[in-house]
Amino acid sequence: MLEYPSSVEDLYLASFREEVEPSRPVLTGDVFEGVTIPGVDERDYALILTHPCSMRKDGVNLVDRLLMARVTEAPDLPLPDWATGHFKVMPLPALMGGSYAARFAEIGLVQSSQVQDSRRVACLTPFGINLLQQRFIWHLTRFLAPTHRLNEASASVFEEADLCEEWVMVTTEQGGTAHQAETDFHEWIRTEDESGTRRQSDLADPQRRAGIRREMRRHLQTRSG
């Protein structure tokens, strides 16, 4: 049936607000505090459901509205129980030291400006995002999509997010602004390398990713002199 993590740690890149790296681009699975979801309720925690490939209109700026789910406290579930029930939620154990869940029946479109003004408190790992998508797809359609296929489809976006985070972090440490850094990164990742292939396309190939990372790191070192 549905899959579940072998440990809670497999879910999160950051599970406390202090752990969230500000330079990381906003992505599916990110949890924010103080978000109002129209038609749901007022200001509370919310998680982004919008697909990673659909979040940005130009590769840098978020689309006008993001689909989000209300996140509330929930009973702690044994991990194997995720597989056979609780299909209306995505469990979020150990979030902010407590036990929470994202509720698929309490969703709505939120202005991305509101999201950007809110505080991000958690980010999921790629595996966490894949589990989230699997459960949401199941909730909507009763179709079981294996997480390893979901990962295959989204892996390049996950890699790009990691690279962007690193680029922005290095750039802002050197005094640049985050938005300009994201723009510069986006331009770089869409440029063709010497072999004529777009670096962004290369991220879809697991054999090419390490090479892109090395190239980016060399570029950042050269740029900083």
């Binding site: 790296e21 295959e152 990691d162 090419r208 390490a210 990372r213």
Partner: protein
């Protein structure tokens, strides 16, 4: 490129003969893998000697595995004396993402971030980083794997998403070493030892395809719908 077969592999040991049969054909044009000798050739050579000699008590396989294990231990001990930041930068220069480095170390990404900022790691975590560093060095130098990070990130079997990183994360350095060093190893045998239920786990009729908008999507494989 190593050829996966040779003329010996097609037959079992032939019936002995008192006549010295001579292959009169010219040795073939050599591929790059034929030109490049590596440590594994010792294994092949001693395999022949074992068949002929009564003085050797261990098979070349056992000797080979033992010596690699010892090499990994000694190289790990050498690297463990290096500053942690140096080992981390080395892995980064190789092309690993920080997320992968955290996974290999068995810690969270924020923990690695703190290490990079100067915080110390536990002895166990240092040892894990040293071991990964040692592994990468050994397979790069002994087995001439040009891009270790790419090799570890790429699934080693076409029908399962399991990578060398998965082996290392689960402490199966032995299997990863075999995968690196033995041109004749069947990846499926490695997979069987690592995840005996891999066929059931990864069997799916869902495939990834490129949708008309150029982005990946999921669908049922033709013939399965």
């Amino acid at each position: 490129m190593k050829l996966a077969f040779d003329s010996e592999s097609i037959t079992d040991e032939s019936t002995g003969t008192s006549i010295g049969l001579r292959d009169t054909t010219e040795a073939p044009t050599r591929t790059i893998a034929d030109l490049v000798q590596h440590v594994g050739f010792l294994k092949n050579r001693t395999r022949v000697l074992v068949a002929d000699s009564n003085d050797v008590h261990h098979s070349a396989d056992e000797l080979h595995a033992e010596s690699l294990d010892q090499l990994l231990r000694t190289t790990t001990a050498q690297h463990a004396r290096e500053p942690l930041a140096e080992m981390l930068e080395g892995l980064s220069d190789s092309g690993f993402s920080w997320r992968e480095i955290a996974r290999l170390a068995g810690v969270s990404v924020p923990a690695v971030r703190k290490w990079r900022q100067g915080e110390s790691a536990s002895g166990e975590n240092r040892h894990r980083i040293a071991r990964v560093t040692a592994f990468c060095e050994i397979v790069g130098e002994q087995y001439l794997i040009d891009d270790v990070a790419s090799w570890l990130e790429t699934p080693f079997h076409t029908e399962a998403p399991v990578t060398g990183l998965d082996l290392l994360t689960n402490d199966r350095f032995d299997l990863a070493m075999r995968l690196a060093g033995d041109d004749g190893v069947d990846p499926e045998s490695i997979l069987e030892q690592f995840e005996p239920d891999w066929r059931e786990r990864y069997a799916t009729s869902v495939e990834v395809f490129v949708a008309p908008d150029g982005q990946p999507g999921l669908r049922l494989r033709e013939g399965d719908s």
